[in-house]
Symmetry: D2
Subunit: 383 residues, 4 copies
């Protein structure tokens, strides 16, 4: 990634006070390539937490907020106000800040899923961003170099006509009922804050977005069987979905938070009539590429294949020097900085946007509806 220390973008953050997981991740991602200065935030609605967290990050006191509405107004009015904001609140508090900052002319970087309801998601489509403010949805797994290369391989025809897609995202951290004191677990298993889905929204949408990003296939319908295995849990913790794509390809998607022995097992396998690829996130610097009738090849990030531009664009260090989750996340931040600077033509199509976010919510809602309908094949247009 090119360094642009002289053109750093002033960044704010909503959510992410001390103890929050994803806000911390966003901050590292914003720092890695040196494209942002984090200078303001409504890190918490609790004034003490907001102040302590903000001071620890070096914010001036007058840029420590407890309300995103106030923050949007005041920052938009400052000559040195933030140019972009990261929204890292629970799902049901995405819509409000996203709308407020876009309408204030401040670029928005929003965690996924887009919103907690389909109404909110579709309503965001109608927001009029001031001054062309842009929107980035952090489906961070799309930032992995080999995922970019996978997308390029598909687009190049190296796999031929696609036939079968297998996606899975499995964890085990919710195998037992979550300790009520576990902040991460509590809102993710509360339908009011996470939305209608549990595992399907939290991780299923990542798997779905990833397969869409790599394959470009358009979903025709889904047939789902969602389960809440843990007694008392109000949202699904295991998701079995069959997919049909336009043009005839078929898919399976498994998401689970109760698969003992799995930490963060996101995996994608795609097969066409000429070749196949297999990638798993836990060792993201390797990808299998098979051409029919030839030995399998192990592609490595930054390795020996003549990588197409999109893949190589986001490799920082040579093959064998593993990059990880944070670098992939940082790539979205860094390439969004290019977009903000008006230099993002080469990458804009690669960055997850509002339409991806809306489709993610449609995917959740169609799956939930199908599952409630005994697996009836359901189109997104039906929800």
């Amino acid at each position: 990634m090119a360094e642009n220390g002289a053109k750093r973008i002033r960044l704010g953050m909503v959510g992410g006070g001390s103890g929050a997981f994803i806000g911390y991740v966003h901050r590292i991602a914003a720092r890695i390539d040196g494209d942002y200065d984090l200078v303001a935030g409504a890190l918490s609605s609790n004034p003490d937490t907001a102040r302590e967290s903000g001071r620890n990050l070096g914010f001036a006191d007058d840029r420590i907020y407890t309300s995103y509405e106030e923050m949007a107004v005041k920052e938009a009015a400052r000559p040195d106000g933030i140019q972009a904001v990261s929204i890292v609140t629970p799902n049901h508090v995405h819509f409000g800040p996203a709308k407020a900052f876009l309408e204030a002319g401040i670029h928005v970087i929003c965690d996924k899923p887009l919103t907690s309801t389909l109404e909110d998601a579709r309503a965001l489509r109608d927001v009029k961003p001031k001054n062309g403010a842009k929107f980035l949805l952090t489906h961070n797994y799309t930032g992995y170099p080999l995922i970019r290369q996978a997308r390029d391989l598909v687009a190049s025809g190296a796999l031929g006509t696609l036939r079968v897609v297998q996606a899975e995202y499995v964890q085990d951290w919710l195998t037992v009922a979550a300790d009520p004191g576990n902040k991460q677990a509590s809102w993710r298993t509360d339908p009011k804050r996470s939305g209608a889905g549990g595992a399907i929204g939290d991780i299923g949408t990542h798997a779905y977005n990833l397969l869409r990003f790599v394959t470009g296939l358009k979903t025709q319908a889904v047939s789902a069987d969602l389960t809440a295995f843990v007694p008392g849990r109000e949202v699904d913790d295991n998701v079995h979905i069959l997919l049909r794509f336009e043009g005839g390809a078929k898919g399976m998607l498994w998401a689970s938070q109760v698969a003992v022995g799995n930490e963060n097992g996101l995996k994608l396998r795609v097969y066409g009539d000429k070749g196949g690829i297999e990638w798993r996130q836990e060792n993201p610097n390797e990808m299998w590429f098979s051409e029919f009738g030839k030995p399998k090849q192990l592609l490595t990030r930054g390795g020996a294949i003549s990588a197409p531009p999109a893949a190589s664009m986001n490799v920082r260090i040579p093959g064998g020097h593993p990059e990880g989750y944070l670098e992939a996340f940082a790539t979205l931040y860094s390439q969004f900085a290019q977009v903000i600077r008006g230099d993002g033509a080469a990458v804009e199509g690669l960055l997850p946007n509002l339409a991806d976010g809306i489709e993610g919510i449609e995917f959740i809602m169609a799956s939930v509806a199908s599952s409630q309908n005994d697996g009836k094949w359901t189109k997104f247009s039906e929800v």
Copy 2:
């Protein structure tokens, strides 16, 4: 495995003439532990092939047959006649020989799937074996030591209450239309000879049998989406199935013959509320075993865990000295020899039998029916 060279069983074979794949595999399996002498056969209905193949194997000329009916009658009448027979013909020629030999009082070892129609499968149930002749269905993957250990782990409660089962069996050898001269491919893609299913019968039944063997879960219903991707193919070559088990566990099963880069990718993953196991056939000497909240353990065949009896019973050589497909197959032969000698109490429950064969055909037929019904959840009792 104990050696019993002094008590070898006289064996015959139906099918398996020169050029046949599975007959050759059965012969090696019969030889490995030294429990059988192969002395007779109707290896082919072509007299020249039958004679040449039989002589090559050292059969006396009067024990080389071209008709299984004749073979059953004559061998049953000889004082040195065969005590058991292996049936290794295409699926639609399983029923006839199985019935003939059982009624002649000769033990039957039959390749899978049991038959090419559900009618035939159920009719076999009504055959009266003479002299207590026994039946073995060679779902050979159940012979792997770690699969036996997986079954023991489940039965012991080490995984807790089962929740999720993921089974897959994927290959790529039928990615393109088969060469008409390919004997293996031609009958396996001909619905008249293989039965109603393609991939589902050839390999899907193995995956299904394996998950049933390991988990003991009873199937409540299936929802299937079967596809024939290769233009002109009359049977499915890719199978997506959702499963519901009695008691609430859920499953997914993927079988494919068009997943480029996969040779013989049979894989089983089982998760309960306490633990999980993961095993893949292509490196069958290792199995992951996870207990919730602890590091994953790599169990090895013959390795350091205190193996329950059923698993250790069929380990020939120490950990680190890999056993493979042929040894697992041989275990079925060797343990069936124990049964034949009247010494099989410890193993009989482990050997796939007629009931397993019938359930395999029901699984095929229910899946085909579900797929034709747009994925309707279908019980085996409905077909």
Copy 3:
């Protein structure tokens, strides 16, 4: 492997009575391809063990011996006498039987290492086999299909001029002092029975033979550091060796019986100026093949590369159906049967022979001498 049931060879065995490990392995290896009938043996010098073991294997009582000398004389005199014999005794009882049977005109299959002393090894060179009796040393790891393919790749120039060889064979079963009742451990750690070396003789010779088999490089000298880590152990249990080959290539060899966590970790890596290969015995159906500047390829036994004849000759079942240790062992038996039948032209150069056995003992003795000399580079001609 071709089946030749009609031309089975009558086989005897010296050593291998009940409880012995390697005799059992030899018997399975002899059975797999159906080339031998085991009909006689001096399985033990203890008459009871000899009789019980022989009867269990179905030997006639008059072919159960307690002395290999008597067995050689009597079997040579019978019209139906054995044509070949397997010697599976401890190392110090290889020389006597090998000499006796060769001089009786009976083909010899001998376990490794060849003898327990260099004198014995070199003396065997001067034995005059009667009737052209042949000799096979069971360096069984050379029978793995991918090892044959590795040898072919090197010979074909695919790796270019060889530079670096890394061989290792590591286990952990002797990490603690062996239980005196452990038959395997007791003779292997007794210098009188195993010879001057411990780990170096038992497993180091396998690693050495394997690298010689694959690379064809000739050893110029060795520098060794041998250690006996377990208190009281009289032979080495860990071996560090540097190698120099004629022509300039260099090597390292590590053998250990005290490397906790390793079961039977034989591994070979070879690098030339054009390419490299990496193979490990515990998953022997895969081998990495790298060409400089290209992605690594995963070759599979029986897989998609156009395998040269030597490799494909000993593949029984298709890629993805794992073959293991016993099949590799069986390949030596089966191909030696070809040699015995006078049909072995294509394979004779592939089978480990007396010269390999003598070089193995020279390797042990030169390494021991070097280690005693503070790592002085030592040639085989100096011992």
Copy 4:
């Protein structure tokens, strides 16, 4: 890692102008945890490169230098002068800046190996740092969380008394003579700029440092065989070393830049009389841990084992979310920031320092001497 945005340290850099690899890596490492502001540099001795690179990073023009001597003097005199400096020049330009900045009272972060000569290394020991300026040597691989955990496991006695250490660091990028235009390759293969060693200095020292860091074993002597395989190369590109440690443990170390198929294959295996560990840098989020007689366990970074403090201290994100090379590098930066702030008691013993640097040069020189002496066992005190 704790965030301390309010207490950022002002950092300078020597070397690392545009096109340099390791300077870029240091800058990312300095940014990840937000502990530094990079504000000044002598990025190049070429004024144009220095200016262009400095401006791109956002330096004020008066803090862009072309001479490290000038930079040390001027920055030390500024009230807002740098508090620490990163030295990322070729090896022969480490000594000068290190001395200059330490004597100016500025903390030094220096790339490895410490210097290009043993004289320089030892001379650094005699430098008197002003105001207690501290020194960090970026043996970055010690920053991996699982390496810290490995060290803790050894220290805790979980492996028992150590016996065998196997270290390797293998690459293939210098398999052929380097293009003269390749800046990285040219200085690394030039003995004047890299020092007496090639592979041994560039990567061998990393492997050596890593094994020392994890095991705590003290080296008694080395026996080496260094080779320059590529025609015309003036420094070694392949290194075979045997090690003896005080107390009786033994080791092997292999470093190579000509092992085709290896990108950055740093691997460490350590065995004691109770347990063993195995770790490889290319997938650094996993480590094998074996206790004798039990199944191997796969430890994961941030995973289920009760990690001792030192390991957990540098985990940013949960298990399954891979961290990589840059995060491990960043840990050194971040923990050195703790030291600079006077808050480093818990970590100071973990950070590679001057003594480690001197020992690294001794390791190079003793190995070179041994190799020139036909592998004579050589102590560090002899060079």
